[in-house]
């Protein structure tokens, strides 16, 4: 009898080892973006199957419901299907975003500021008092000049994103 119980317990635990249930989202590394994408598709495809193929739920036929019954069915859906942690994550995400914005380091904000004020250099003034002279930015890799007829490459577009430390030139610099 004890052997039987042991077999049942061990079988149950073994079944859990290769478990489908995921408590934490797998880490997605930027360098493996292509592979990660496929992984996401596989997981979320399963989830779609779970909802629509194995056990149809309300949101799969939501569009077919008359508008006046949606509130009625939504009530059941909320009771039976809506995970409690979805509320929490929505709240958590929005809250975290706000917190992150508030807690951004001052240096980062400085870096994002425009390097120069309006009409910088128009009047050949000395730098403002208390402001450190800006060191010239050195690019790690020179950007090749493209022919005018060529479209902008993805590499260029990534270099010109806001995350780059390269600061844009002043407006109308040298126009005078």
């Amino acid at each position: 009898m004890r052997t039987g119980r042991l077999v049942v317990t061990v079988s149950f635990l073994l079944a859990l080892l290769g478990c489908y249930t995921v408590l934490k989202h797998p880490e997605v590394r930027p360098e493996g973006e292509a592979e990660a994408g496929r992984e996401c598709w596989r997981c979320h495809e399963d989830y779609r199957l779970e909802r629509t193929y194995y056990y149809p739920r309300l949101y799969d036929y939501w569009d077919r419901l008359p508008y006046y019954s949606r509130g009625y069915y939504e009530r059941w859906w909320y009771y039976n299907e809506y995970p409690w942690w979805w509320d929490r994550y929505y709240y958590y995400d929005s809250n975290t975003q706000t917190q992150q914005e508030e807690q951004k380091p001052q240096e980062q904000k400085v870096e994002e500021k425009r390097p120069s004020g309006r009409r910088e250099g128009f009047y050949d003034l000395e730098p403002k008092v208390g402001r450190e002279p800006q060191a010239p930015q050195v690019r790690s890799k020179p950007v090749l000049r493209k022919a005018p007829s060529q479209t902008k490459s993805s590499e260029d577009s990534s270099k010109s994103s806001g995350s780059s430390r390269r600061k844009r030139p002043s407006r109308r610099k040298g126009m005078r």
Partner: protein, 424 residues
């Protein structure tokens, strides 16, 4: 000397009747959960609330919100006994707590992981029997009543997990606790001159030549551990299939008893074990989302495999379980319909719960002939209040009748389940 011999004969007759051999822990399904019972107990492949801990623990994986569950149940047994043609009638009503528990779903990105803790009343011993009339066998007038009151419940910790998009597994760890109070009183008096046929024809009158009194009371306390594992498979088109297996339960019984015969009183206490067999439950359900759910379920137990480690009564052996019991398969059918406009579910169902005891209660006695199997019809209604509170009510009506020689026993059983499930 003659008086002594007569007393010995009387006592031997009474003891035989006072200790009918039937193990109370065998069978005794009484149902639990208002939604489940409203659907006739066809809940093995539905199992969408805390009572899944009992019906099929894998069903817990379907619950996405915290749930607090509680309920009440009122049970009434109205018994009518025909004792050699003389009627006896009485009823017993008890209100007990239905399942009480909490469901705790763990946040997941995929699949489901859910735990629960709580209490489930799984067996109800309430039972009533009585006689009033002249026994054709002993030729004595008898009047008496026997009553069981109590039940078995399990304190549970359960968990369920999705192991694939279509499959959930679950397990319930059970701590069994319970009690049974049995009491019986029997008055008996001999008929001096009139014969049975004369009394039946109204020609003779019973004369009180010897009045005797017999009383037996005992209090049993039960404790044990058990495990139930289950699986739930979600199939194409809203079909679900459920399977659950309950491990054998080794119940430890501690008993205090007291017996009184006329002017002598005897008492004692002892303990023994009852080994209850495996139980296998299975079912299929179909859900049309937002419209209806129908289901069918069975529960199989081979009661001939019940065992004592030490017999609670003299002369009883484990061989008696093989001879006097049978395997039973309980059948459940039922469904629910979601009403339009108002958030109300209406339910109906049926279940048949075969009687496993075949008898005889004593050697040489008559076997139990089932006249009417235990058939129950169930009705239920549930309302969802403000998206978070589900109130359910179930009405269960059943009856059965059996015959043992010249004693016919008919029971009308009424059960009302009320439960509330709050999800947040």
């Amino acid at each position: 000397m003659r008086k002594v011999w007569f007393t010995v004969v009387l006592v031997s007759v009474w003891v035989g009747e006072a200790s009918p051999w039937e193990e109370i822990t065998v069978d005794r399904f009484s149902g639990l959960g208002a939604r489940a019972m409203g659907m006739g107990g066809a809940y093995m492949a539905v199992a969408e609330d805390f009572t899944a801990t009992y019906w099929n623990p894998a069903g817990l994986a379907q619950i996405r919100r915290f749930e607090l569950y509680g309920g009440l149940c009122q049970r009434q047994d109205a018994a009518t006994v025909s004792f050699y043609g003389s009627p006896w009638h009485d009823s017993l009503t008890r209100t007990t707590s239905d399942p009480l528990g909490m469901v705790l779903p763990v946040p997941t990105y995929r699949g489901s992981l859910v735990f629960s803790v709580g209490y489930l009343p799984v067996k109800v011993f309430d039972n009533l029997f009585g006689v009033k009339g002249v026994s054709r066998e002993s030729g004595r007038y008898k009047e008496g009543r026997a009553e069981d009151e109590g039940g078995l419940g399990v304190y549970t910790v359960a968990g369920a997990i999705d192991i694939s998009p279509s499959t959930s597994l679950g397990a319930t760890l059970e701590i069994w606790r319970g009690s049974d109070s049995f009491s019986q009183e029997l008055f008996s008096r001999s008929l001096s001159s009139a014969t049975w046929s004369e009394i039946k024809q109204g020609l003779g009158s019973p004369q009180d030549t010897s009045v005797s009194y017999y009383k037996l009371e005992f209090e049993d306390r039960y404790s044990s551990f058990g495990v139930k594992v289950g699986a739930l498979f979600r199939m194409v088109g809203g079909f679900r299939a459920g399977l659950a297996v309950s491990s054998p339960v080794h119940l430890k019984v501690e008993e205090d008893w007291e017996e009184a015969r006329d002017d002598t009183v005897d008492s004692g206490s002892f303990s023994y074990h009852v080994h209850l067999p495996w139980t296998i439950d299975g079912g299929i359900s179909w859900t049309a989302p937002g419209l209806a759910t129908v289901g069918v379920g069975i529960s199989y137990s081979d009661w001939t495999q019940t065992r004592y480690d030490e017999s609670p009564e003299e002369g009883i052996t484990n061989e008696d379980f093989r001879r006097r019991y049978r395997a039973t398969t309980r059948l459940h059918l039922g469904g629910e319909v979601l009403l339009p406009i108002i958030p109300v579910r209406v339910r109906g169902g049926y279940y048949r719960d075969p009687i496993p005891f075949l008898g005889p209660r004593e050697e040489g006695g008559p076997k139990v002939e089932v006249v009417d199997e235990r058939d129950y019809w169930t009705f239920g209604v549930g309302v969802l209040i403000d998206k978070v509170l589900s109130l359910d009510l179930a009405y269960v009506r059943g009856k059965f009748a059996q015959e043992e020689g010249s004693i016919t026993e008919e029971h009308k059983l009424t059960r009302i389940f009320l439960s509330a499930a709050y999800r947040f």
